[in-house]
Amino acid sequence: MLINPHQENREWLLTALDYLEEFAAQDEDYFGDRSYEAKAMAYQRAVVEDGKYRVVFLGAFNVGKSTAINAFLGGAYLPMDIEECTSRLTFIRKGEDLRLALQLESGASRNEIDALERSLAGIEAVVEISDDNRSLTVRCPDQNPDRMCKALEPLVTVSADECYPHLAPLRGKMESLTLFLPTDALDTDIVFIDTPGVHSISDTRQKITYDIIEHCHLVVLFVDSAFVGNVHDLNFIKRIITCRNRRVFFVLNKADKLENEEIDPRATHGPAAQLVETFRRNDIPDNADVFFLSGYRALRAIELDQGLLKLEEALEDNKLLIPTAVTERIVQSQEPERDLSAYLMGQSRFSHLRERLLDYLINENKSNAIVSLAGRFVYERAADYLISIRNTLKLARDPRKFDELRASREALMDRLKTIRETVGAALKTYGIRFQGGELDGAEVPGYVARMHGLLTEAAIEAQVVQPTLSWLRQDDHLKQACRDKFKPLALQLEHQVDTFVTAILGTLTESVEASEKEVSEIVAEQIGAARDLRANLMEPEKILHAQVESSVSGEYVAFGTGGALVGVMAGAAVGSVAPVIGTAIGAGIGGLLGAALGFLARLAWSEERWVTKLTPLVRQNALEMLLQGKADGARPIAALIAEYLENRGKAFEDAVKAELENALDAVQKESSSLLAREEEIRRERDAIIARLEPKESRLEGIRSRAESVLEEDPMPWAST
């Protein structure tokens, strides 16, 4: 019989999480933030337990998360409102019938159940109660989304506090709320999570959303397309992206407010470009997909199709912003409902987002993602808890070590200094490679200089201008170009510039990444050494030894909290320059079009005459775009690349330094906390040893097993 290693790992992770949760919540030898750790552990256990892949919908309140989820589900199940609406997490899963499952922290009283039944009286919903009164199930007999929405209103909306005050005690007891519905939109192994909006005036709602982030596998992040890049969203986005290198779908919702020409998912102009540009300026890694959406239009289109929304109501709905011309056409149409629905659905761009998301969910190895997230979580926690236990044990077994600890404090500080210096030197080498200078006695050109070496006039002539001209001579390209007001020529030039720049970027990125990897390895080793110091505070010989033999390999550290960020920084995540360059190319092409249009009156020119006339235009445009910049002040691509390189270098340095300081800080804290407990440890040595030894072996068991689980499942960033 084959044993499913996943199954086995899962079961083991559950027991490990149980133990860690209990340890963090109750153990007297734990010195961290008890309530946060215990809660995080319990949640992570729930994730492993149900084995569902969690997709979380995040964004400001009112940005349309619930509306978009409703569109996914094919009906208005979740309450929506023009004011801040969602106040609690709603988990959404596939089920056999439409029902709402409430899990309570403690059993519901008769009064509370009566109150719930009264509030549901108008919709003929049935409430089923478990024996312990802790699980309530609300069933809507006719599977009607509107009824479910009404059932959810008193439970999950902000306005429920005002409109359903008598249900407040029950809401207070709610641990989780899951909506089950029979839909093809969801697979059985997926959970959608609707969250209260951020920027809420309520601290409670804000915290609910922030706490769920680290336990989700995929993030769908909503931004209002009319307010892209505002600073409040930005801080939130930064937090999501820097918290693990996780996949994010960006949705620019309410795109119905935009003009058609602003909607450009390629991000060469409009809000999408603005988002990318904002990310670039703020050093946010942007390995994300950007989608435009009008969730409201999509949902209304679906309801029109289902006959749940009347044509007149839709035409009267100001929020749909239907242009006058479209309204006139619809009114005269044979099948007005169908036509309006088709118009709204097409304009909503919903199908694009849905297909991409479903596609991603089908192809993603979901059970791997779940085990891997949990495995990393368990490993980090166990390794961390273990250090303090071991240090205390050593001191209890041999109190003379207190004197050694005190004596070796200076040496410890020296070691920390050496670690700082080693990393500093590595960063210096890194800096020289970036900026140019002398390295090992040889002159090294900086990346910017290298870029200028690749992006020369001669190279542009050979790789951009000439290929564009030979394209023009081929087939009927010239004729077509004239006929379409030179747009095909502009596109061809765009393509050539694109290829040329991509090649240069490829060359540069390759060596930047190699250099980052080299520094990351050194930093990982030094952070490992700092961890070692924390673990070996009582071993003066290890501290005094000038060359600490790090028992910790780079790989080991990359599993830990410390190494995680460095691992990410070393990868492709510092930010992509490609969309910015795309914008510059898009803008640059406009100039060529304008100038060439003047020639259109000369249709009698021979082909060679045309090419001769167009050559200087193509050349000038290519040079301006790439090297010189435009008369209107638009910056050349060379300048954009230079700026990108500098930002990337700086972001990397900052991340490395921050990680290092965290690790060094932990060492110093450990040492002072142990010395503070000296008296207690000396007095109660035997009791402490007897108490800690079993904990040590348990935690060590968990740590090493988690490590082997992780070896089976490579880190997400290792594959990117």
Partner: protein, 284 residues
């Protein structure tokens, strides 16, 4: 030009309405709507703009001016130069302040001040420090109907109300994108919401649409027609109420007629106070 400086011998501060708010909330569009014309630049893109002072001129063409960075001398600009002084993408601008003198300006005394919006560059719009030059100023916080009760907006409202009680109003813009019952609900609950969040007495709260108002004044029927008639009426009424509030404040603080010119306006203590405030926040 008469030699009257726009601050009389007793040093009475200029009557002004200072507009602030997040970028894209529609401050400039709101001023354009008040002026009945597209005088100021508006854009969805985040931009770096110095403060713009708008006042009434004696007649003739619209006059544009600027105070170059770090200098005291005001220079006249063409309309094109004025419009191109806006910089996109984090490029710093070259002027400390800009100025528009428009003959059609409906306010005889008021100087309308458009301040740079909060962007991804800095944390929030600068709240001006109380200064004698701002003693006759009304502060208008421009936000949007959909997002106005956000925690950051609420804390701004609280601070404005504490600093300038009785001289502060809140405008919830972009009401034209939703339905009438929703607009009414948000409007009617607005002050109650503020009071519940400890802002008492709550400042006046106006729900309107600057874009719809500008369309009304410039005859852009295409846009007007796109919005349902009942929503249009509600938005127009909201804007009218807002305009009346401005007129009332102007009548209260303006004691005598003032003739404005570039030099004196851009070097007035009011301009100074606004520029200092922006510099303190390291914008531009």
């Amino acid at each position: 030009m008469n030699n009257i400086i726009p601050q009389d011998s007793q040093g009475t501060p200029l009557p002004a309405a200072v507009f602030s708010g997040d970028f894209n909330a529609g401050k400039s569009l709101l001023i354009n709507a008040l002026l009945h014309q597209n005088s100021l630049f508006i854009s969805r893109e985040e931009s770096m703009t110095p403060p713009v002072l708008v006042a009434k001129s004696d007649g003739g063409d619209v006059i544009y001016g600027a105070r170059p960075r770090g200098e005291r001398e005001a220079v006249a600009l063409s309309r094109e130069q004025f419009l191109s002084s806006r910089k996109v993408g984090g490029v710093p601008c070259e002027s400390d302040a800009l100025c528009v003198l428009a003959p059609e300006m409906p306010f005889r005394h008021f100087v309308l001040v458009d301040t740079p919006g909060a962007s991804s560059q800095e944390n929030r719009p600068a709240i001006p420090a109380a200064a004698p030059a701002l003693d006759n100023a009304l502060f208008v916080l421009v936000t949007t109907l959909e997002y106005w009760p956000a925690r950051h907006t609420m804390s701004l409202i609280r601070e404005y109300q504490m600093r300038f009680p009785g001289r502060f109003i809140v405008v919830a813009n972009m009401a034209d994108h939703i339905n009438t019952n929703e607009i009414r609900r948000v409007r009617d609950k607005g002050r109650q919401r503020m009071e519940r969040n400890g802002i008492a007495p709550a400042p006046p709260f106006f729900t309107l649409s600057a874009r719809l108002e500008l369309a009304r004044r410039t005859g852009d029927d295409e846009y007007r027609r796109r919005i349902k008639a009942d929503v249009r009426e509600l938005c127009d009424a909201g804007f009218d109420a807002f305009r009346v509030a401005l007129y009332e404040f102007e009548a209260k603080v303006a004691s005598r007629a003032v003739d404005y010119d570039l030099e004196t306006l851009l070097n007035s203590p009011l301009a100074e106070a606004v520029i200092m405030n922006q510099k303190g926040q390291k914008i531009c």
